[in-house]
Subunit: 313 residues, 2 copies
C-alpha cells in the first residue's frame, strides 16, 4: 500500500504510533518502525538528556524512519528542539501550540514537520505555516484535547474539504476497521495512541495496562476544561476532579489540586487511584496486550479484510 | 443495495431520517420514504391529535414504509402509543428510556421496534428486550444524548462486537462518505438528523436553517448534563447556560432557567437567541438546503463513489 503518507515518511503502512507522555520511549517507537509503521518518541515526559538517550537507542534498534513528538506548551521546548537539530532528527510532530512558532526553523533544518490539530481553524493555520502534514485529533482521543470537542467523524471531512495537505486521523482509531473508516472520511493515514499503549513495548505501567483491559465505555471523561482539557480514565483522582468541577471550581483551584507529577504517578508508576490516567475512549474496545509489530500486522490485515467486505456490498 | 436493514424495513436504501423534535413532521418523513429511505415522524413535539393528523397526511403522501419516533421520557407516552396502535403503525423507534418498557407490547401488535442507545449496556438491554434493531448514537449527535459521551467511532465497533442485532449508526453522519465510514465500523444502516433538518421539507424555522449554514466547528456544545444532556448551537441562551454551569449551578436552577417551550421557541418559531437550538456537530459541514429526495440520492451517489475509491487503494 502506497499513498501520500507512506511516501512522505518513507514507510510501508500509513500507521503512526502517537508520541505519548510516559508511554512511548525508544522501545515502542523502534518496534513500530521496524514493523513498517512510523514510531514516535514522546518527548513530553523527557528532559533533553533523556530524550537524547532515547533517540540514540532508537537508532541502534531500527534503521527505519522514526520521529519525535514535541508539545509546544512547555518552557523547555527550545532545549528539546536543540537536541532534535543536533541529532539530525528527520521527522517531528508538534502539538499543543501554534504551528507557526517552530515550523519555519525546523523546515530550514530539512525536517518533515507534522502538526496536531483539533479544529478546522488550526488546520488552516498549519497550511499557512508550511507544515508537511496534519494530524486531526477528535474529542474521543486520549491525553490533552481541543476545546471544540469535535469528534473524528466530523473533524476529518471538515478539514479534508478545506485544506489540501496530507491528513492523518486520530481519536477513536484502534483497529483496521476504524482505519478504513478514517480513509472513507478522507484521511490518508491514522495515528493511534491507546492501541499502542496496549503493547508489550510501551512503557505504560503494567497496572495501568491491566486497568485499561478491564475498562468499559463511559469510563473515560474529558475533564479539567478550565485549565487544559484532558481525557481521564475514571479513578479516585478523576472523581475528585469531577466533584470540584460540578461545584464550579476555578482554574486555580484545579491547578492546585492537580499539583505536580500526577501523570507520571499514574501512568508510569502505577498509582491507579491518585495518579492521572490519560487514555482514549477506544480503551473500552481493547482486550489484549500484544507486541507492537504484531499489532501493526493485525491492523493491516483487518483493514484489507474490511475493505474487501465493503467492496462486496 | 440490499442488506439486513433494507430487508427489515422493506426500503431501498439503508438511510433513516431521524425523528426529531420540531423538525420532522409528515412532509419530511414522506419525502424521505418516497426517495427510498425510511422517514420518521418525530412525535416528541406533538400531542396525540397532532400526531394522528401527521400520520394520516403521511399516508396520503406516500405508499412506502415510514415510522414514528417516540421518546419514552414524557408523561403522555401511553396516549401516543395508543395512537400508533389504533393507526396500525408498522415501524416504531423508541428512545430516551428503557427498551423493556414498551417493546413487548408493541411487538404483540406486530410492529417492528427499534430502540436508540448511546452505550453498550443499553444495547445489551435492547437485545434482552426483543427489539428488532438498534440505533447507536454517538456524542456528536444533536438533541438529547447519552451521559457516557462515547463517540460514533468508538460506539459502533463496541456494540457490533457484542450484540448481534441490525445496527444503525447515528451521530456525525451526514454524507455518503460518513455513511461508508459507519459501514466500515460495522453498521448496516445510518440515521441522519442534522442533514435532514437542512432540507426544504423539514419544519425547522428558516432562520434556524440559515444559522446552521453559517455555523462552524466548535459552535455546538453538549450541555445541561446535570439535567438531561443536550447538544446546543451557541446563542445567548446557551451562553447563559454555560455561565451557570461554570459556576456549579444545580439541576433545579438549570430547570428553572430553561422553563417551558424553549425548543419550540428556538427551532420552530425562530427565536435564535433565547430559544433552544438542538443540532449535531456535523452542522459545521453543511452548506446547502435541498429537497429531501435529492439528499437521499446524493448520499447514495457519494457512498458508491467513495466505495470505489477505497476499493482502488
Amino acid at each position: 500500500m502506497e499513498n501520500w503518507i507512506t511516501r512522505l515518511f518513507d514507510i510501508r503502512y500509513p500507521i503512526i504510533q502517537a508520541g505519548m507522555i510516559w508511554c512511548s520511549g525508544w522501545k515502542l517507537a523502534a518496534a513500530v518502525s521496524n514493523a513498517g509503521g512510523l514510531g514516535l518518541i514522546g518527548s513530553a515526559s523527557m528532559n533533553p538528556e533523556i530524550l537524547e538517550e532515547h533517540i540514540r537507542k532508537c537508532r541502534a534498534a531500527t534503521n527505519k524512519p522514526f520521529g519525535v513528538n514535541v508539545p509546544l506548551m512547555f518552557s523547555y521546548t527550545e532545549e528539546i528542539m536543540k537536541v532534535l537539530i543536533r541529532e539530525k532528527i528527520k521527522i517531528v510532530f508538534t502539538s499543543a501550540g501554534n504551528p507557526s512558532l517552530w515550523t519555519p526553523r525546523l523546515k530550514e533544518e530539512g525536517m518533515t514537520v507534522v502538526h496536531v490539530v483539533a479544529s478546522l481553524k488550526s488546520a488552516r493555520k498549519c497550511a499557512e505555516s508550511g507544515v508537511d502534514a496534519i494530524v486531526a485529533e477528535g474529542f474521543e482521543a486520549g491525553g490533552h484535547n481541543g476545546r471544540e470537542e469535535t469528534t473524528t467523524m466530523t473533524l476529518i471531512p471538515l478539514i479534508r474539504k478545506s485544506v489540501s495537505l496530507p491528513l492523518i486521523a486520530a481519536g477513536g482509531i484502534a483497529t483496521g476497521r476504524s482505519m478504513l473508516a478514517a480513509f472513507a472520511l478522507g484521511a490518508e493515514g491514522v495515528q493511534m495512541g491507546t492501541r499502542f499503549v496496549m503493547t508489550e513495548e510501551s512503557s505504560a505501567h503494567p497496572g495501568f495496562k491491566k486497568r485499561i483491559l478491564e475498562s468499559k465505555d463511559g469510563d473515560t471523561t474529558l475533564m479539567i476544561k478550565k485549565l487544559a482539557p484532558v481525557r481521564l480514565l475514571r479513578n479516585r483522582f478523576s472523581e475528585a476532579i469531577g466533584q470540584m468541577e460540578a461545584k464550579g471550581a476555578s482554574a486555580g483551584e484545579l491547578a492546585e489540586f492537580l499539583g505536580k507529577g500526577r501523570a507520571m504517578r499514574g501512568m508510569f508508576e502505577g498509582d491507579l487511584e491518585e495518579g492521572e490516567l490519560e487514555i482514549g475512549q477506544v480503551s473500552a474496545l481493547l482486550d489484549v496486550i500484544r507486541p507492537a509489530g504484531a499489532v501493526v500486522e493485525e491492523i493491516m490485515k483487518e483493514f484489507n479484510e474490511a475493505k474487501n467486505e465493503l467492496t462486496a456490498l
